[in-house]
Amino acid sequence: MTLSKTEKPLTVTEDGGYLPGTHPDLPPPASVHGPVHWIQYNLFGSVTNTALTLLTIYFLYTVIPQLVDWIYLDAAFEGESRKDCRAVANGACWAFIGNRLSLFIYGFYPEAERWRVDLTFVLLILALVPVLYDGTPQRGKALIYSCLYPLIAAFFLVGGFGLERVPTDQFGGLMLNIIIGVTGIAFSLPIGILLALGRQSHLPIVRILCVSFIEFIRGVPLITLFFVAAVMLSYFVPPGTNFDLLVRILIMGTLFASGYMAEVIRGGLQAIPKGQYEAADAMGLKYWQSMRKVILPQALKISIPGIVNTFIGLYKDTTLVIVIGRLDILGIGNSSLADSKWQGLSTEVYVFVAIFFFISCFSMSRYSLWLEKKLHTGH
């Protein structure tokens, strides 16, 4: 038996026993602790539980071997067509994904310039670190870089000033999802906060504007907004003004997420007790000071699950750009599947796209859990 290190020095009597009150705590007996107990308690605790457990085990037993077969054991990783795949294996044909990987990632971005996309992505991660992690050394300076990042990214992706210009209609695949998703996420939070505050404002014009904007956005599906951005705007803007389609999409996506964000944050604002507002006023804080120092830190903390929910929703909605003629990762999958050499491998494509989205969305939700725990001061 090992004793924990934090134990007080033992007071031992001459015959090897303990003085009263000095016996160290023993670990709980194995019958209420340890893996066996966990299994007994959680999996076979009652008749229903036992039945469910057995059913699940049987289900996994029938599914997993086939799944492993399909995904790995009986899968083809090399080949130049579906026929090549079928010649060696009956399972998944991952050769297709490998064959089209660069198309899935970069879309129609010119091959010679793809390093710029890679660089932008690395810089994105560097820009995210100070935003997401408050222990970053020199955080203040790093945040300035993060704020400038959108301009840097636009410069590298679009070009100009010495770099070859790449028209945005050549953007595609995964990079398009990330561009729209990250832009929407980054800008919808501040805009959403302003809208939420505006909706609670005592100034009637500000309030009416914010309410009508939010209600309009929430009343219209994103696919409609994209469609309006793509085809209706060209009826109104003068000919020759080439208002880039991707920029229109970014604006629409951001506004859409902002409308939802505003309502999530309003929920947080309303959960703050009135006393907090009054206390801030009593301290003599101006409106913005009281918001920044007292109200918002609390409101945002409560709203984290809802905020991240909106982020994830927006991120997945980026696949809707297909309606305006841009091929994101899913669209590239569709157009590649129509190649008669590879036709019929849609399951592989959907699994691949699902994995990509799962990784992105799962990491967002884990980060938000971590943040919630870190900010949890209520005890």
């Binding site: 595609g172 469609f227 569709n334 129509a338 008669s340």
Partner: protein, 340 residues
């Protein structure tokens, strides 16, 4: 508030003036000024439009876009492809995001007249058919009473199906699906007894089945599906350019002009070929282009037969015979008016 409404009215008037000016500028001038042809294609249809490994658009429709670009701009690669779904293609054209649709679009009365489109020519004569497992024992479409049918929504095939079953007084249960790939999956999983779409699509889909011999394409073709390029109403010059570029490809087959021999044929003395290829006459300038426009179109992607055989023909995985799409001299319907 009054000032604001005046300002809004001014903006609206300005927008209207600008858009009416835009309507006056011809599509040809727009395309030339832009230096790129905006071509609306399918987001993915085997044989007609798809992307290859390097992201290049290929297929029957995609190649015809290149032919038009070669005729108008002198370079078949100056095409911007706009992939569109069945529901968005006409809006994209009418909002001027695209200059022309090459997207296996069926020519119908309502689309031509009511949606205000100009259909150019039928580049591919298709018709709607059914595919079914041989094990179901069905030999004719009329025996499909009570069958579940996989059908793509928002297409003419949906309406044809309803008409056909009503006319023959038999019933069916529709299984609505969005894309060809989805239909393929549902059909193979036996969630529908039969899948109906254009016969070309059925052949292409069947070619991907592991046991394609177990499936039968029923002999009945229940509709006419003339597929071809589309432009906006109201720009006759542009419609003429697209129409005669397609005719040039068909005439190219008739006169034996191919991508490889176009230059050599131009210098021969056959008057019809010489007029087509611009070594005689001034047909090119009449249409607003230069004299070599048709030669460039053929040199870029080949004549109609070459484009067909490369993308859909019997040597490809799609494996379609020319059928109705053969040249009229071989008993088909592809016929070009004379170049004179």
């Amino acid at each position: 508030m009054k000032k604001l409404s005046y300002a809004l009215a001014a903006v609206a008037v300005a927008a209207l003036t600008f858009s009416s000016q835009a309507a006056k500028a011809g599509t040809l001038e727009d395309v030339k000024a832009r230096g790129v042809l905006n071509c609306i294609v399918n987001t993915g249809l085997p044989g007609f439009s798809y992307t290859d490994k390097s992201g290049r658009w290929k297929g029957f429709d995609a190649d015809m876009c290149r032919s038009v670009a070669a005729a108008v701009l002198g370079d078949g690669e100056k095409v911007k492809y706009i992939p569109a779904t069945g529901k968005t293609r006409f809006t994209l054209l009418n909002s001027k995001e695209g200059d022309v649709i090459f997207r296996n679009t069926t020519w119908t009365f309502v689309r031509d007249v009511d949606v205000k489109l100009n259909f150019i020519h039928t580049t591919y004569y298709d018709g709607q058919g059914f595919i079914i497992r041989k094990s179901k024992g069905v030999k004719h479409a009329k025996e499909l009473d009570g069958a579940t049918v996989c059908i793509q929504t928002g297409t003419t095939t949906e309406l044809n199906l309803a008409d056909y079953f009503r006319a023959n007084k038999i019933t069916y249960k529709p299984v609505p699906i969005e894309s060809n790939e989805e239909a393929r999956k549902n059909y193979l999983a036996d969630r529908c007894d039969t899948y109906t779409t254009d016969a070309s699509g059925l052949a292409a889909t069947r070619a991907t089945f592991d046991n394609s011999g177990d499936h039968l394409i029923l002999p009945e073709i229940i509709s006419k599906e003339p597929l071809g390029p589309v432009v906006r109403h109201g720009d006759d010059q542009w419609a003429d350019i697209v129409r005669w570029t397609v005719y040039a490809l068909i005439a190219g087959e008739e006169h034996g002009v191919t991508a490889a021999n176009a230059d050599a044929m131009a210098s021969k003395k056959n008057p019809a070929t010489a007029r087509l290829l611009g070594s005689e006459g001034t047909l090119g300038t009449m249409i607003g282009l230069d004299k070599d426009w048709a030669k460039r179109a053929i040199k870029s992607q080949g004549n109609y037969a070459e484009i067909f055989e490369r993308n859909l023909g019997t040597k490809t995985n799609i494996g379609l015979a020319r059928g109705l799409n053969a040249h009229y001299k071989n008993g088909g319907l592809q016929y070009s008016p004379p170049f004179r």
